[in-house]
């Protein structure tokens, strides 16, 4: 099967700013995104687990965005602008898709 190169942004951010990031993504030149809950982890602020928590603080979520390379810088600037003071990680990777017209 023929595949086509695209870029994937993986954004791990704090749960309290998930709404902010969703609003930014709605304005971004992308066709969609996927939001996942992170189960737990550890970082500069220590270890955390989603289970048992009743508040958003201390939880993280993951956004997955697949897009064309031509829009990558614009989307990155937009996302980083919304989270530069927050905890989180943005990574960019090369991916292959089978339906390029969707991205």
């Amino acid at each position: 099967m023929k595949t086509y190169p695209k870029k994937q942004i993986r954004l791990i951010c704090e749960s309290p700013i998930a709404d902010r990031m969703r609003k930014l993504l709605e304005r971004a030149p992308i066709s969609g995104y996927t939001l996942l809950p992170a189960v737990g982890g550890s970082g500069s602020e220590g270890a955390w687990m989603r289970e048992g928590l009743v508040g958003d603080a201390g939880q993280m979520v993951v956004f997955l965005i697949i897009l064309d390379e031509s829009e990558l810088q614009k989307v990155l600037d937009l996302l980083y602008g919304g989270m530069k003071a927050q905890m989180g990680i943005i990574t960019i990777s090369d991916v292959e898709v089978v339906r390029p017209e969707r991205f």
Binding site: E14, S15, P16, I17, R20, K23, L24, E45, G46, A47, W48, M49, R50, E51, G52, L53, V54, G55, D56, A57, G58, G81, G82, M83, K84, A85, Q86, M87
Partner: protein
């Protein structure tokens, strides 16, 4: 009047507190005891709904008087004043920077609604009456502390926060405030008849649900304490144990000033002594992202919450009964 030891014994040996201790000890011992996030959130909403509704029914039965408005004003004033005291104490007791001092102070000016629920339940077990409108006071006390803390931090907005993002919306519309106040108003509207209709849902199972929730909270508090231990200094731990009593004593003075009964005063003291770990942390991640959540979450959830639940609540009640005769 029961002695402080009697009250402490009744509180410590009550089922909700013992379940909290079980969760706490089990988690410290290495048990992976925990409730799924969705279950914990559902139980939390149930408790807010039940306590809000019952408070509203109590107000419907006894009417809305000047004492309600005095209590609301007292709660708002305490919530605004306590961060200033906490901020000063943190400056004297710790080496935290201004932003983190303001963030911690916000938590101690605001309230823990679970501590409030536990206190009202302890009063019921011990047999001390309190006014139902304290539910509304609890809700009012959530917010002023955050605004004062942002002012103390010297910045009400982070440069990464969009201008259209409302911190006040986040505070006022967080699920505990919406459910608590909404259920309170519904309780006032429907009165005792409404309570009779749903008592099978919100009265009989209440203590059992509280036990289950506190079992989980015990585990969460122990995990928070363990994971945040490296951020704790003797000064911070001292603050987490001392500030609740400072807040409670200030609240006692206010309660005396407006003529509260011992039970209602003890609830106000508990509210002033408690530290938020649900609403304020989420709001501060938006408004003050530079502050370290490991410090304020560990302090409020791992130090102050267990102390209040086991020692604080009976102490506040005993002091209130001793001072207000």
């Amino acid at each position: 009047m029961a002695s402080i030891l009697d009250i402490a014994a009744i509180n410590l040996l009550s089922a909700p507190v013992l379940f909290f201790v079980l969760g706490f000890a089990g988690s410290l011992a290495g048990s992976r005891l925990t409730l799924p996030e969705a279950v914990a959130k559902t139980l939390s909403i149930y408790l807010m709904l039940a306590i809000g509704f019952k408070g509203g029914v109590a107000v419907a039965e006894h009417g809305i008087g000047i004492d309600l408005f005095l209590a609301l004003a007292a709660g708002a004033a305490l919530s605004a004043l306590l961060p200033l005291i906490g901020f000063g104490m943190l400056g004297a007791m710790t080496k935290l920077d201004r932003t983190n001092r303001a963030a911690v102070a916000a938590h101690y000016g605001s309230i823990s609604i679970v501590t409030f629920v536990a206190a009202t339940q302890s009063m019921t077990i011990i047999g001390v009456d309190h006014d139902g409108y304290m539910v509304a006071v609890a809700a009012v006390m959530e917010t002023p502390a955050i605004l004062v803390a942002l002012w103390l931090a010297g910045s009400a907005s982070s440069d990464s926060r969009p201008e259209d993002e409302s911190i006040l919306g986040e505070i006022f519309l967080n699920s505990s405030v919406v459910v608590l106040i909404g259920a309170f108003v519904i309780g006032i509207i429907t009165g005792p008849k409404g309570l009779e209709e749903i008592s099978g849902f919100i009265v009989a199972p209440f203590i059992g649900v509280l036990c289950l929730f506190l079992l989980d909270m015990g585990a969460v508090a122990a995990r928070g304490m363990s994971s945040g231990r490296k951020f704790m200094t003797p000064g911070l731990i001292g603050f987490g144990l001392l500030m609740p009593f400072v807040g409670a004593l200030v609240a006692l003075g206010v309660a005396l000033l407006i003529g509260m009964t011992p039970g209602t005063a003890a609830i106000l003291m508990t509210l002033a002594a408690s530290a938020s770990y649900i609403a304020v942390p989420a709001a501060l991640r938006l408004a003050l992202p530079e502050a370290s959540p490991s410090i304020y979450l560990t302090l409020s959830l791992g130090i102050t919450f267990p102390m209040n639940l086991t020692i604080g609540i009976p102490a506040y009640l005993a002091i209130a009964q001793w001072v207000i005769r």
